[in-house]
Symmetry: C2
């Protein structure tokens, strides 16, 4: 049966685009090298019609399918299992920009377009596609949408979901849904678009999308401020949202220990506000000018100083100072890796609960695992913390992780749940967080999800074992 299936696949796509031999590790191994599977074959369709053919053949032959874009996910959601029976469906050959509509501020792109290429196509027209994340040179827009990617511009522009107006999807039955609407308002029936977004390839295969574009702001500039407590950082966020409105495009927070690690491992980087308990990085986009943005920053920060929200502040005077500030923020993960093994969390909370969460989780961790060092930083404006746990100074990292990773996760996720937060803010579920979801999500929500999965993919062909 498998021979017959592969022959039909070759006839449909051309033998060159059905890979069974050679080094397939780029398709079979996940980004963080946590899992390596074995595919029955890698299918590389050229267009949507070929994707539909592939899915019809899979349905006919009962072959399960793992869709894959840039394969940069962090939760093992886009590689095949070890059985050698799953078809890896790579969308990477589909990378056309189908349409860029400057009056409608939309772009229609194939799912396999690399995120950076989408950004660049917009920029070439003086426009902004704001989705931005570390893996943007490899991640595809289809994968970004299938996982509802977040990134650094969520505070102002939203997640991938909020940046998408329409989708083209191939269903489990091999039918094509053309929902590539460039409409801002369309109340004709259920919201299929948002159902497919974030479903991680388990309900259908996204083959193209119409995304929102924005005018490029005239200037983008940054500032840093030091806060004596997380409460004060939250108060500064509130003030910045009131005074800068939609001009506030970034609000990151970094704990002292996170910046200590950066200073230890990258001593050549500047440390604008040494000794701060919490350092906040603010980014502002301005339609007028850099000077106007700086003035507004100075007014905000002067008032914050007077109100006792901050202890000190520095406004970037030029683009290179702005870049240096971001560079410090972006060096935290690397500094953590240099320091040694650690346990990472991608959590979100109501912003108002973050101070109490930190107090409670810090205390619970210290009590259960004395000496652990907490690297706390993240997108405070979105309520999204990378609340990471570095093993105790001088400890055996591998042994600590082996013995305590599940326990540490439980302490952190219990605290998250106590404050109505989420154990996966932007990374999704994939295979890695399935059990966590089964335990922590409400039974009603899980029952609804399972009913939807069963309705749309009754044969269970699409990315089985992921999400549900």
């Amino acid at each position: 049966m498998s021979v017959e299936f592969l022959d039909a696949l070759r006839a449909a796509l051309g033998a060159d685009h059905v890979l069974c031999e050679g080094d397939l590790s780029a398709y079979e191994q996940d980004w963080r090298k946590r899992a390596r599977g074995k595919a029955l074959a890698v299918a590389r369709p050229a267009d949507t019609a070929q994707v539909a053919t592939v899915l019809r053949l899979c349905a006919q032959h009962g072959v399960t399918v793992v869709p894959q874009g840039g394969n940069t996910g962090l939760v093992v959601g886009s590689v095949p299992d070890a059985t050698g029976r799953q078809l890896l469906l790579s969308l990477r050959r589909m990378h056309r920009v189908r349409l860029l509509d400057t009056a409608n501020l939309t772009m229609t792109v194939d799912a396999g377009c690399v995120l950076q290429a989408v950004q660049e196509a917009a920029a070439a027209q003086g426009l902004l596609f704001p989705l931005s994340l570390a893996a943007e040179g490899s991640a595809t827009i289809g994968g970004n949408l299938a996982t509802n990617a977040g990134g650094t511009q969520v505070l102002r522009y939203g997640n991938a979901r909020e940046l998408c107006l329409g989708l083209e999807v191939v269903t489990a039955q091999g039918d094509i849904w053309d929902g590539l609407s460039g409409l801002r308002k369309d109340n004709t029936g259920y919201d299929l678009r948002d159902l497919f977004i974030g479903s991680e390839g388990t309900l259908g295969v996204i083959t193209a999308a119409t995304v929102k574009l924005f005018p490029q702001p005239a200037a983008r500039t940054t500032a840093m401020a030091s806060c004596a407590s997380m409460e004060l950082a939250v108060a500064l966020l509130k003030s910045a949202r009131h005074k800068l409105g939609a001009g506030l495009t970034g609000f990151e927070v970094m704990g002292r220990f996170a910046l200590d690690l950066v200073a230890r491992h990258f001593p050549e980087l500047p440390r604008p506000l040494p000794g701060a308990a919490w350092t906040v990085l603010l980014e502002q986009s301005d339609e007028e000018s850099e000077a106007h943005a700086q003035e507004r920053f100075e007014a905000l920060l002067a008032a914050a100083l007077e109100d006792g929200l901050i202890e000190d502040a520095a406004v970037a005077q030029n683009q290179s100072q702005s870049k240096a500030m971001w560079h410090v923020r972006e060096s935290i993960s690397l500094a953590q890796a240099q320091e040694g093994l650690n346990i990472k969390h991608d959590i979100s909370l109501p912003v108002s609960s973050i101070p109490a969460f930190c107090t409670q989780a810090d205390a619970a961790l210290q009590s259960a695992y004395p000496g652990v060092r907490i690297v706390n930083f993240g997108h405070l404006g979105d309520g999204n913390l990378h609340y990471n746990v570095q093993v105790p100074q001088g400890g055996d990292g591998a042994a600590f992780l082996r013995d305590h990773e599940p326990g540490v996760n439980k302490v952190v996720f219990d605290a998250v749940q106590a404050f109505d937060g989420s154990f996966s803010a932007e990374h999704g579920i994939g295979s890695l967080k399935r059990e966590e979801m089964e335990q922590r999500k409400s039974p009603t929500a899980l029952a609804l999800m399972k009913a939807i999965k069963q309705a749309l993919d009754p044969q269970g062909l699409l990315n089985p074992g992921r999400v549900l």
Copy 2:
């Protein structure tokens, strides 16, 4: 069986909150008085637990349910049919503000809260809940979300969907899903929230919501400009979005004949730019001051004049002038009613296609129905037109509608479809547009919707005959 059901209902809600007699027209007749049904009873639960009890009883006794909020919908989606066998489930007794979180910029409210009360609760904290529409004094937030309401602030803040972070929903089985998250990022499973939003009570009953709040801008001001063609109005929109960014909160267009009708029936109203082929109303929100907003308007409009995009312009010098400009815009519907019977359309298109659509639809209508008068106005910034057709001057309105309404609709919707638009931008489907949807939506989309409906409401108890 119906006696037993009603007894159980009375035992659960109290006899006072199960209405079977007296004048029930507020519940049974739709807002535009196009349909009048007859309910088995009107159930008025006090809280979510009672809603769950009601739905469990309905499932047990096979009674179908029509959920209702303020009953202000325009497509006959919230009144019972004529059989006398449907339960009308009114959410209006549930109108608590459960939580207003100023640091998280969120508010959690019962579904039965009137929209205006939600706006006022936010304003009392110096915050803005931007959803705004004509029926806001009666419409409830639950109904707004069930129908994904639009309104006047969509350009900047989005539809009801984009303003909602979380929902509480009672399922067809009477289970409660608590998804009242106040999180900006949460990638744990399928997007149930957006599936319920806009599903018009056919997939579950929304009992509460957590919505987004925004800081109140320091100033909100308006301007008007005249454009010689719709192409130039679209070019002005593009320029305004580039120069004002997120500060641009409204961009309305009004055709000459629409304003002629206002002048004829409300001669006391000002007409700032007489003779304009197209008049644009721009609204700007500013975090700094009214003077700053006026300066930015003046710079935008001076450049537009120089570039030949506009012929003339007027910037409101104070709040009363701003209000007067909006008053003209809001008088169009009333002037239409004074003029006589007409056929209304609530359509959306990619903004870039609007000029060509208007040319084509105008010509097709004049050719098929010589003498019809087109009242074209709407939210150009959202691509949403109220493209209405007034019967020929001096014609018999009732006869024209009787003979030609379906034909006129077909001409308009065929043109909409040719330009990839939507035949229902913000009003939804209800009963009135079901056939239109069956004909115009892709079979794949319809099949997906029906599968979802079947999965979540296999007994077909929730608002049957609506949407699908």
